[in-house]
């Protein structure tokens, strides 16, 4: 198979899954879920094959055709998108296994719709990952919003309706009001929307079609328009999305949906603006002109700290994890805004590192809910005796999220910190350090309290969630640590995205 064919095969597989899930339906759930898992495994195999080509320097591309005169739906695979696709497709397998345990353990309704929407979200994630131009990316981005709405409102009650309203409201309005405008503006000045190494806006900037200040405004339209990156003040949709069943929160609101957001920001920064243009364009007169993206750096820094602070106040485990995600996403946006080669690589790495760590934490939250019916952290005292595997996995993943060795997150945070130093943003370095401390403060106590039962209280009996739930979370927990030892490989793989700009 040529890599070109692998691209469309990869994107076709989730679509096949949708059709199969609907055909089989509620009649035989076992066959329905085996189909999903079978396709997920095939997809992962296809993406690894594709990754082999891409990581050795290939840039396969595939054109679907023109959707509008002059606007093509086309796909080109580059390392950043490849990494994202690998993460999404790999975790899809585990999440499906987990979802079987969770959804059945919990007697959820409408499971057919659930698995179908899930597959369509994966399709949208792949389309976004492989997009060759902003137009394709935008189409995939919106498709993802729509296809995940039924998942967020899965329970169909008043709470789900409210959550869904905020979810759809914020994501649709930001994308229509800002993102779409930004894309059309880019097209008007640059005459193209293709992702090009080195960016496409440098030449219009020289030609005077777009001034330095306007560049900064355009960056703002992108940063706020890509609401899925959850930069404050457009972050409210993410906690609202937590009304969804936990597998959704795990794969979509820790991996696929939010990562499409930050991935798009990275893509825009690297392939539309070009990191050189961002880091070399200065605003203001005098001795200390500021970088055009400075305001975004500080906004990301503020989001990192504020979201961590809010996370500390949340007693509901999923809500705490949601705010933690907002904070961690801002790291990646920060990487894009700092626009040095180390910072964008750090941002790219963090997509993978955070994905594996955070999905573990969500899996754990779901397992605790299924196994012990607890959602609040204050009720989880002593739970470690009953669910040692779950809580052990939680601890491992926490290390990665905080950025302590041997967690994978240590590497990405290291490169992001390097980026702040290289550009002289020492306040942001401080923010990163403080944020890590805050991470420790709001995550570590959960497993610690779970294991250290106060003397006198009767230890609970061993009662884990179903195996279908526990096995995936153990795998991802081990994965989040294993990634630490592959830090170098991931760095090498991502190196072309930063150097091709030179």
């Amino acid at each position: 198979m040529t890599p070109e064919n692998l691209i469309w095969i990869a994107m076709l597989l989730p679509l096949v899954a949708i059709v199969l899930v609907f055909i089989i339906g509620e009649k035989s759930p076992n066959i329905r879920e085996s189909c999903t898992i079978g396709i997920a495994v095939t997809l992962f195999w296809v993406t690894t094959r594709l990754a082999g080509f891409v990581f050795s320097g290939g840039r396969p591309s595939f054109k679907m055709g023109e959707m509008l005169p002059g606007f093509e739906i086309a796909f080109t695979v580059e390392p950043l998108g490849m990494l994202f696709a690998l993460v999404a497709s790999g975790l899809w397998i585990l999440t499906t296994v987990y979802a079987i345990g969770y959804m059945r353990g919990h007697h959820e309704k409408n499971q057919t719709r659930f698995y179908a929407c899930f597959a369509s979200a994966i399709f949208a994630a792949l389309a976004a990952a492989f997009a060759a131009n902003l137009f394709t990316l935008f189409v995939a981005y919106e498709l993802m919003t729509i296809s995940t709405y039924p998942l967020v409102t899965h329970h169909g009650d008043e709470k789900a309706k409210k959550g869904g309203r905020i979810y759809l409201g914020i994501l649709l309005s930001t994308s229509v009001a800002f993102f779409m405008l930004a894309i059309a503006w880019t097209w008007t000045v640059a005459g193209t929307l293709d992702f090009t190494p080195g960016g496409i806006l440098a030449q219009p900037n020289i030609d005077g079609k777009i001034s330095d200040f306007q560049l900064s405004v355009l960056l703002g339209l992108f940063a706020f328009g890509i609401g899925k990156a959850a930069i404050m003040p457009f972050h409210r949709w993410l906690p609202a999305a937590m009304v969804a069943p936990t597998p959704v929160s795990a794969l979509l609101h820790a991996v696929a949906v939010v990562k499409v957001g930050v991935f798009s920001i990275l893509k825009v920064s690297i392939y539309i603006f070009g990191i050189d243009l961002i880091s070399e364009t200065r605003l203001g007169e005098g001795a200390n002109p500021i970088m055009m993206s400075d305001w975004l750096c500080y906004l990301a820094g503020a989001t990192i700290l504020l979201a961590s602070l809010v996370a500390m106040t949340k007693d509901n485990l999923k809500a705490r994890l949601a705010y933690s995600t907002i904070s961690q996403l801002a790291y990646i946006t920060l990487g894009a805004a700092l626009a040095t080669s180390d910072s964008v690589i750090g941002g790219g790495m963090h997509i993978a590192m955070h994905a594996v760590g955070k999905i573990t934490l969500f899996f754990c939250a779901g397992a605790i809910y299924v196994g012990a019916h607890k959602t609040n952290i204050s009720d989880m005292r002593g739970l470690g005796r009953a669910m040692p595997l779950t809580m052990g996995a939680f601890l491992l993943a926490t290390l990665s999220i905080i950025g302590l060795p041997p967690g994978g997150g240590a590497w990405s945070k290291w490169f992001l910190a390097l980026g702040t130093v290289q550009t002289g943003h020492f306040w942001l370095l401080a923010a990163l350090m403080i944020s890590s401390l805050l991470n420790i403060a709001y995550l570590i106590p959960i497993p610690i309290r779970a294991f250290m039962t106060p003397a006198g209280e009767a230890p609970m009996k061993f009662k884990e969630a179903p195996m279908m739930c526990v096995v995936p979370l153990c795998i991802t927990a081990v994965g989040s640590v294993a990634l630490f030892f592959f830090g170098n490989e991931i760095y090498d793989v991502l190196l072309p995205i930063a150097t091709s700009a030179r």
């Binding site: 055709g65 023109e66 959707m67 509008l68 005169p69 606007f71 935008f138 189409v139 919106e142 498709l143 729509i146 409102t153 169909g156 009650d157 008043e158 789900a160 309706k161 309203r165 759809l168 409201g169 649709l172 309005s173 229509v176 009001a177 779409m180 405008l181 059309a184 503006w185 097209w187 008007t188």
Partner: protein
């Protein structure tokens, strides 16, 4: 035979209508009406497919232009005729069950005859090259649509029809006055002939008055804000099938006549440079979009909600037309087509609800997502199109409009246009939440899914909004060709 196609489009339905009244058997007439509609659709398809060899000019009765009446088929008129007859055909296929419930049996043959006459009028307005003929066909379509609207079940239907009749007649009269003034100044009624003689008298005050009368007359028929007051009642109280057809086609044909008026008879230079019609149009369109969308949000009747949405959507078409470049005109014409599909489809969904639930109040539709899943899902898909989500037809027109506004550096227009489309999210999603997340009303609880005879045509139209959202060769592509030829015509006239 082939060269007679342009006239057959008009003659077949026009002759069929009185004949069907004479036949009088309602089952037979229904079948024949469907046959006629599909035949006409076939003819328009073949006319459009002939456009690659250049426009067709057909001299009625062999009288040469400009003495006789000429029928002109070019990309624009063929395109508009195609979707008018296409929707006419699919709606009449969908119609029988709905009409059975909503229209008294004794009126059925009259209903089908009026339906054919209405379609004749709309097609005639598109094809004719004679200005007075436009007025005649406008009246044919208007009078038959007053009759169709008054057939609605409630006693408010005749009242709504009367309201429309009074205002519509004012509009038509204004149009006629304009024609009279033009005739006085140029001595001809042939559009191309008027255009060629207009330069000499262009600066006269009479021309300005003529243009003003015709524009305002058409604005009334288009239901441009603030001349839209007839539309919500007419759409709400008409039988569902009538609303489907009229909402999808009638206002668009008036928009078409307006495009002809500006780009063929007069010139964009006259309308937009000598007169500030472009900025006025933009202002009216944008205000109309916001006001009508906001009004749609507060409606309690689903048909009235869509009616206000239609008033808003006309604004997007006029925005494109007022830009007077190829991009804007393409966007406007594309939106005529896309909106015909989307709004036609949504009204067909509403017709399904009307059949099974019997009420169109939003509170009675609560929980219908459970009992009528297919109908409700069609609403979601059509609604996404109206909002303009990518991969739906609505996105295509929105994107074309946006890029063309930005290429002209009309920043406020671009921003306001995007913001206004968020209002559509509110009114569409309000219904979605009512359908899916509310406890079922007693009417919705016992409702059955709509019959396949109605669902299949509905899904064909709704599905086509997705098809034309992903594949635009035959929507935006033809609109582009039409826009180019429209602007080309004015350039050849040597006005620039």
């Amino acid at each position: 035979m082939i060269e007679q196609l342009p006239v057959l489009v008009i003659v077949i339905p026009l002759m069929a209508a009185p004949l069907f009244v004479l036949i009088g058997n309602r089952k037979l007439v229904l079948l024949l009406t469907q046959l006629v509609c599909w035949t006409v659709f076939g003819i328009t398809v073949s006319l459009l497919s002939r456009m690659q060899y250049g426009p067709i000019s057909y001299e009625l009765g062999g009288w040469p232009s400009p003495y006789g009446i000429v029928y002109n088929v070019d990309y624009l008129s063929a395109f508009v005729m195609l979707f008018v007859s296409g929707l006419g055909a699919i709606v009449i296929t969908y119609a029988p069950k709905s009409i059975d419930k909503e229209v008294h049996h004794s009126k059925h043959t009259l209903f089908y005859a009026s339906y054919l006459l209405c379609m004749t009028g709309l097609l005639g307005m598109c094809i004719t090259g004679d200005l007075f003929n436009v007025f005649v066909f406008l009246e044919i379509s208007s009078l038959s649509s007053y009759a169709l609207i008054s057939l609605g079940k409630t006693r408010r239907a005749p009242l709504a029809a009367l309201h429309y009749l009074i205002i519509g007649t004012v509009g038509a009269t204004f149009f006629l006055i304009g024609i009279g003034l033009l005739y006085q100044m140029t001595g001809t009624l042939n559009m191309a002939d008027i255009a060629s003689r207009l330069q000499a008298v262009e600066s006269s005050r009479t021309m300005l008055v003529a243009f003003a009368f015709m524009t305002v007359g058409l604005f009334i028929k288009m239901a441009v804000f603030p001349l839209h007051t007839w539309l919500p009642n007419a759409y709400t109280y008409a039988p569902s099938v009538v609303t489907c057809f009229i909402a999808a086609t009638a206002t668009k044909v008036s928009v078409y006549a307006f495009i002809r008026l500006i780009y063929v008879i007069f010139t964009p230079q006259f309308a937009f440079e000598r007169l500030p019609l472009d900025s006025a149009l933009m202002a009216f369109s944008l205000v109309g979009i916001f006001v009508a969308s906001a009004a749609a949000i507060y409606q309690t009747n689903i048909k009235r909600l869509l009616a206000y949405s239609s008033v808003a959507q006309i604004g997007y078409m006029l925005l494109g037309i007022s830009m007077s470049n190829v991009g804007g005109l393409t966007a406007g014409i594309t939106h005529m087509f896309n909106h015909a599909l989307i709004k036609g489809g949504l009204f067909m969904v509403v017709g399904c609800f009307a059949l099974r639930i019997g009420s169109l109040k939003l509170e009675d539709l609560r929980g219908a997502g459970k009992t009528m899943p297919l109908t409700s899902f069609a609403w979601v898909v059509g609604g996404l199109g109206l909002i303009g989500v990518p991969m739906t037809a609505g996105f295509v027109s929105k994107w074309l409009l946006l890029t063309s506004a930005l290429s002209l550096e009309l920043w406020p227009v671009a921003v306001l246009m995007l913001l206004s489309s968020l209002l559509a999210v509110v009114y569409i999603w309000r219904v979605v939440e009512i359908l899916y997340f509310s406890p079922a009303s007693h009417l919705a609880k016992t409702a059955k899914e709509a019959p396949m005879a109605m669902l299949i045509p509905t899904y064909i139209v709704i599905g086509s909004t997705i098809v034309f959202g992903c594949w635009t060769v035959y929507s935006a592509g033809i609109a582009h060709a039409a826009a180019e030829s429209l602007l080309g015509i004015t350039q050849m006239g040597g006005v620039q």
